[in-house]
């Protein structure tokens, strides 16, 4: 716990108190618990939490973790994020939850591995983060112990994460590009904070840090060793020849402009996350993706597999 932290938490509590006081002054009704939970359900879908935190096997419990996530550094097993007190995240305070989600720090103070995309989630607003918590808290509590990761040293050394964070973790809220329209700013928030598209579509360096000079330009070896396409608006190597309608329809149905169906992990992303978003939000994402810098990058497989 650094001093900065405590200031942070004080600010948070103070801010919350101030907000409540303001609401009282303005006679604004605060969101009811049910409204917050419903908003949280939507945001949880946008955040794609289900995908990693649920074993993709018939009959497995949502959000109970245990899904193996294959990375170049080893196999990570997602933890149980149901509200079970013993094996899940039950009993976490709001502050502990936000620290985990937005800082990648566990309640006991250890840093998470960046296979958990706190690097993107740091941009989620506190209000949205707590709505996600409210939703997770409303679900059945599942008793399921977390599986230990199968990662070899030195990558398994958690303390090295402090160095990694210094190099590759930029904490802070979402900042829309200069001069962005309301739609583009909303789309950017969804893409960079919640749906975390860049965690797969932006290539990583040898240490697993994303290389933002190639933002969304694709990579031949994404998670699970998958080929990940270039989704910048470059007409030749990206999706510049997709219309806004093509992008929206793809996110809703998983069908490309030629009506071929999506392959690989993206099918899951669409099933559990993107297809659950409103047309308005999908249009905002499409507007945002159309607005980013086109990068001419042919994604070639490193080796024929």
């Amino acid at each position: 716990m650094s001093a900065e932290y405590s200031i942070n938490s004080v600010a948070r509590i103070f801010g919350a108190a101030l907000a409540v006081a303001f609401m009282g002054m303005l006679q604004l009704p605060a969101a009811t618990a049910d409204e917050t939970t419903a908003r949280g359900e939507y945001l949880t879908a946008a955040g794609g939490c289900y995908g990693c935190h649920t074993l993709p096997v018939e009959g497995s419990q949502p959000f109970a973790g245990g899904r193996p996530l294959k990375t170049p550094f080893g196999i990570f097993y997602s933890p149980n994020i149901t509200a079970d007190d013993e094996t899940g995240i039950g009993g976490w305070t709001d502050e502990q939850f936000l620290d985990a989600l937005k800082q990648g720090i566990s309640p006991s103070g250890h840093p998470y591995f960046p296979v958990f995309p706190y690097t993107s989630y740091t941009k989620i607003t506190d209000e949205d983060g707590l709505a996600i918590k409210a939703y997770l808290d409303s679900l059945p509590k599942i008793v399921q112990e977390d599986k230990p990761h199968e990662v070899s040293s030195p990558f398994s050394w958690r303390w090295l994460q402090w160095g990694w964070r210094l190099l590759f973790f930029k904490e802070g809220p979402y900042v829309a590009p200069e001069g962005a329209s309301v739609e583009v700013a909303r789309g950017g928030y969804l893409v960079d904070a919640l749906t975390h598209c860049g965690e797969c579509h932006t290539p990583r360096n040898m240490f697993g840090g994303v290389d933002n000079s190639l933002y969304m330009a694709g990579t031949p070896n994404g998670g699970e060793g998958e080929f990940v396409p270039n989704i910048t608006p470059d007409p030749e190597t990206g999706i510049g020849d997709w219309s806004k309608g093509d992008i929206v329809s793809f996110m809703k149905t998983g069908l490309k402009p030629d009506y071929d169906d999506v392959q690989g992990s993206m099918a899951e992303v669409i099933d559990h996350s993107l297809s659950k978003l409103t047309d308005e939000d999908l249009a905002a994402i499409a507007d945002y993706l159309k607005s980013i810098k086109p990068i001419n990058n042919v994604v070639k497989r490193a080796s024929a597999s």
Binding site: S243, G245, D246, D258, Y259, D261, Q263
Partner: protein, 157 residues
């Protein structure tokens, strides 16, 4: 391909109602004529589907020429069973060897039949000229692609 060019190309396609199998400059041969033919036919299928899709998405106005595209989809689907002769599952083709495995024969045949059935519905929907109906039929037709692509297609190289 720029956006404007895409629109023009689709416009021409819709206007003429005919799709010629255009081999793109990037296409490389698999070294097997039957596999190359299959890939070219699949491309035509995609282009016709895409042309109808532009109308379903409201980006291009409906015209009677769309009926040609729908018929092309149905026709291509009707012939699809012949695109997979034994020996055409070469390395460079995305077809998995499982296609020619006797154990999968029925599953593979059924996937093609599903597409054929859906494509006939697409012809009817396009004839109606109703955008919502066209969209629904396209979605149903596109959804049948996965019946083959998921189990029987290698990932993109």
């Amino acid at each position: 391909m720029s956006n404007r060019l895409t629109k023009t190309v689709f416009g021409v396609i819709l206007g003429s109602g005919i799709i010629l199998g255009v081999a793109s400059a990037h296409s490389e041969t698999t070294g097997n004529a039957e596999a190359d033919y299959r890939i070219a036919e699949m491309k035509k299928l995609g282009m016709n589907m895409g042309a109808i899709g532009k109308v379903a998405k409201g980006e291009v106005a409906y015209s009677d020429a769309l009926n040609q595209n729908a018929k092309a989809v149905a026709q291509l689907s009707a012939n699809m069973g012949k695109w997979f002769p034994a020996g055409s599952g070469v390395e460079k083709s995305r077809s998995k060897p499982d296609i020619w495995d006797e154990a999968n024969k029925d599953k593979f045949a059924k996937a093609i039949e599903d597409l054929q059935a859906a494509s006939l519905q697409l012809v009817v929907a396009v004839q109606s000229g109703d955008q919502a109906k066209i969209g629904a039929a396209l979605k149903a037709t596109g959804a049948t692609c996965g019946g083959c692509h998921k189990p029987f297609r290698k990932p993109k190289q």
